[in-house]
Amino acid sequence: MSTEKILMKGNEAIAEAALRAGCRFYAGYPITPQSEILEYMAAHMKEWGGTFIQGENEIASMSMLWGAAAAGARCMSSSSGPGYDLKQEGISYLSSYNLPAVIVDVMRYGTGDGEITEGQDSYWEAVRGGGHGDKRCIVLAPASVDECAKLTYEAFDLAEKYRNVVIILSDGAISQMVEQCTLPEAKEHDINKFDWTLTETKKKEDKKNKVTNLDRTIGKPAFNSMMREKFKTMFETEQRWEEVETEDAELILVAYGISSRVCKTAVREARKKGLKLGLIRPISVWPYPRKAFENIPDHVKGYVTVEMSLSSQMGEDILLACKHQRPLYGYLTAEDVPEPEGLIEYCEKILAGEIEAMEVL
């Protein structure tokens, strides 16, 4: 199958790209607004010769995934909000065992009792890690349907490259949106390609593999230095971001996912009025693209974090990235998708000195 450009929903693009990346095991539990991923896998996984399981709960689904990952398969699960909370046990175990897997979190806002809305309230949970353990997950945040496919496809390679969990941090808006999408070429994954997996093919004299906390098998000093090196390499190598009109910007908006889409419109509209806005759009939110905040030019007067949360979850990362050299402002809209007009007005007020810089709580 060659690459092709088609119209798809964000969720479908994630599922299709996963299948094309060689994902042959999916287990999950229904929850809005990620259910299309599960439904797509239910409909299509068999055609690809893989296994789809609708789990009895998130925890069981993650454990099945964990078994499949330990046995060498490319595997994925997905959830939202409270369902993603329940995945933390599995993510912690996958991490402590250094098993590769791709987990999708389609964020929504709050518990969603009675009403499901878009949101970006799970940044901390995904980026800082909701579960226990001394770990770092690579977290990629698509801002278009095309990127849903591209990043998911790549996530499987990254997961294996580092033997690490990779999280796709989508949101209710991106997940439900239909756009053009270029689907990557389908490839097969060889479940026997690694020497550390559980297999049924070893010979009597072969060393048997124990999949457990890695420090038990390679020893603590080796494990510790390996992990330090891994965190460092992932941090240095995997920073991804996009910049829009930053060359002469007075204020730089910082946003990912659906918020970044609104910011693109805001930058364009603001410039029509002579207001010089720019945008830094983190694509990897861990590692955070700190390189985008190096050598800040004089024309930049401050950063504006635009998030669908009230607690400015990403704001901390911006302050760390710019080393507190510029003030940070927050346009924080919780369950409402931000509107470009309101954002532009807010930026005008910042430049007029009417808005106080934000403290990150």
């Binding site: 119209l7 239909v178 419109t265 364009r268």
Partner: protein
């Protein structure tokens, strides 16, 4: 090029109409986005979807100012009319939207979509009549090309129905500018 909202009751085919639009638009090499409202708005009696068709990269998929509104019922008309730009186009399903006066600063087109669909014996084609009127009112897409691409869309879904082309033709023909 165009920021569009299609809105009506759940069941009037509003979401499908939006999907047909973007499927035709991509064949014109446009960039498109389609988003549907879910949650609060659905419970407010309206189902709606936003469609953006553009030559440029699309930023926000949620337009706040509209070039075109397709209102399939009166609550949708009332709700979304204030978002329509000066000089924009409003297409109303006059079977259900019965206003005595329409604003002067926008171009209003009427089509009795529900009645016409019922007359045709294709009650679910209200949305297709609206699209016929859309093609006429906006001139964004050439009619025969639209029909061809719409049929291709349904064909992919295995739902070919010759009544659809008839509905577009009739909607095109009978749409009236107020």
């Amino acid at each position: 090029m165009a920021d569009i909202i299609l809105a009506g009751f759940g069941g009037q085919g509003v979401l499908t109409a939006g999907l047909i639009l973007i499927n035709v638009a991509v064949k014109q090499d446009k960039n498109v986005t389609w988003t549907s409202s879910y949650g609060a708005e659905m419970r407010g009696g309206t189902a709606s979807c936003s469609v953006v068709i553009s030559d440029e990269e699309i930023g926000s998929p949620y337009p706040t100012k509209l070039d075109v509104l397709l209102a399939l019922n009166e609550p949708s008309y009332d709700k979304f009319l204030p978002m329509v730009r000066e000089g924009g186009t409003v297409i109303v399903n006059s079977s259900l939207v019965k206003k005595e006066n329409y604003p002067d600063n926008v171009n209003v087109w009427k089509i009795a979509a529900t009645d016409l669909a019922n007359e045709q014996g294709a009650a679910r084609n209200t949305n297709i009549y609206m699209l016929g009127a859309f093609v006429k009112a906006t001139g964004m897409m050439e009619k025969d090309f639209f029909i061809e691409q719409m049929n291709a869309y349904f064909e992919k879904k295995g739902k070919i129905n010759p009544a659809n082309a008839v509905s577009i033709e009739r909607g095109y023909e009978l749409a009236e500018k107020v």
